[in-house]
Symmetry: C2
Subunit: 249 residues, 2 copies
DNA sequence: TTGTTTCCATGATCTAGGTCCATAAATTTG
DNA sequence: CAAATTTATGGACCTAGATCATGGAAACAA
């Protein structure tokens, strides 16, 4: 492709990438889901200045790893990430998946070191928010602080639900709940709530839900037999959201 | 006891209770663990004014229940609490236990309604922090905001560890991890790290760890046979913290 | 193109821990 | 205080889902 004799498409792609990455918060399609929500335009301009945009990560590349010094919060701009923590004996737990507009690193604030490994699931990009600058800014911008608290609180509530899932639900209920949670998040982001890509591997899903990979495969096959979903590789289509909801327990 | 002809002990008890409950933040034994950490004394005085102290709850009494309007954060002053969330079919999950100096209700900020039921495990008391006042105060008190963020972040990190426990650990590992987590928290509060009361029922423990009550009983008995612990009803004594740590996985 | 590796699906077996039951101890109530 | 209820323990059995094993399909490298 680099030696293509027609240079226009490549040029356009690059231009588009530039544009997407340098876009100001107020023009960003994620505005509604992201930190600046509710800020006045002059506050927004200040926030804009401290954000480091345009950070790209390839599949499997780490955003940070456990015990790295905590410097910044990250907001997913495009693509997706997973976070993992490890038990002393090597077993690990995928603690979350993160999609555009979602924050990564919130659990690092209290210790000033990152508490997990964060890895890109596909080619992805983030906005980096240096925490010190953010705090500095927050002093004169109460709404920013409220937004941060809200973000943390939301993730906390989500994790409590996940505890219910991990502790009390059957394999089928876990998968149904997981698929609907993804559906909801994609819908909130303006994507289809019924057709999307499972950017994480089956192994990641299994791990996250406290199941074996084999179980995930089997249940997904069963869901397919029951006409609840159609799966083709990583692409999934939810055929009967009502029944899936009923299965969540 | 009310008709005791010697009135002095009762009078003293009441005086003590009064004193304990109205004590100012700066004189509180929980100061080090609580919100005011790092505030200057005039800031502290302001915080003192918005705190509603002296709220007592009896065993089983609710601090709040799901979907109640969120108005305040609570800090445990004495005693202990549990929080629970419910699946649609009645199964529920104990999402946390809370001891003196710990915050309850942080996951309610984002929805403005409480996300769980919070119940006293014994006669307990809390300090109530009306959130609006707290936010108002936070505008001129950056350190207060940082403290709040830190609190949230800490609970978030704890919940991620709990996900690892629920998803990946065996029954024995779960119990060992749980006991050591309590031990650590009591130690931080200046209590014994080896001798304490399990104020929650075996059922609550089982539920929290994603186990059956019977399993909890059996494992605790096994730990006792192996001279790791001594249990007498709700009182527990850790005999071999080293071995317990090794069992955590 | 052909290894090489990673990922996914599915069948066959095994087991940790759940469920069910009975009893005993502790706590609450009247 | 006894009666009633709740809470704790332990045995017998069973099942959901883990583990083991195999083969095929993508993804990746050389």
């Amino acid at each position: 492709m680099a030696q293509s004799n027609n240079v226009t498409p490549l040029f356009n792609d690059l231009a588009k990438i530039q544009r997407d990455h340098n876009i100001a918060c107020q023009d960003c399609s994620l505005y509604r889901l992201c930190l600046p929500l509710g800020l006045h335009s002059d506050d927004l301009a200040q926030l804009d200045q401290i954000i480091k945009r345009s950070q790209s990560y390839k599949r499997r590349q780490s955003l940070f790893t456990v015990d790295n010094k905590f410097t910044s919060l990250y907001v997913v701009r495009s693509g997706s990430f997973k976070t993992m923590i490890s038990a002393s004996n090597g077993r690990d737990q995928v603690t979350g998946f993160y999609f555009p507009g979602e924050f990564i690193g919130l659990d690092a604030i209290h210790q000033q070191t990152y508490q997990s490994n964060a890895k890109a699931l596909e080619s992805s990009s983030v906005c980096e928010l240096p925490f010190e600058n953010l705090q500095e800014l927050g002093k004169d911008m109460p709404k920013l602080q409220v937004q941060l608290l809200t973000r943390l609180s939301k993730e906390l509530a989500g994790d409590k639900s996940l505890m219910l899932l991990l502790g009390k639900k059957t394999a089928g209920e876990k998968l149904a709940t997981f698929l609907l949670s993804l559906s909801k998040r994609f819908q909130d982001r303006g994507f289809s709530s019924t057709e999307f890509q499972l950017t994480m591997s089956r192994t990641d899903i299994a791990n996250h839900l406290g199941l074996a990979v084999e179980t995930v495969s089997r249940i997904l096959s069963r869901f397919q037999e029951d006409d609840l979903i159609v799966i083709t590789g990583k692409a999934i289509s939810l055929q009967n959201i009502g029944k899936l909801k009923a299965l969540c327990g």
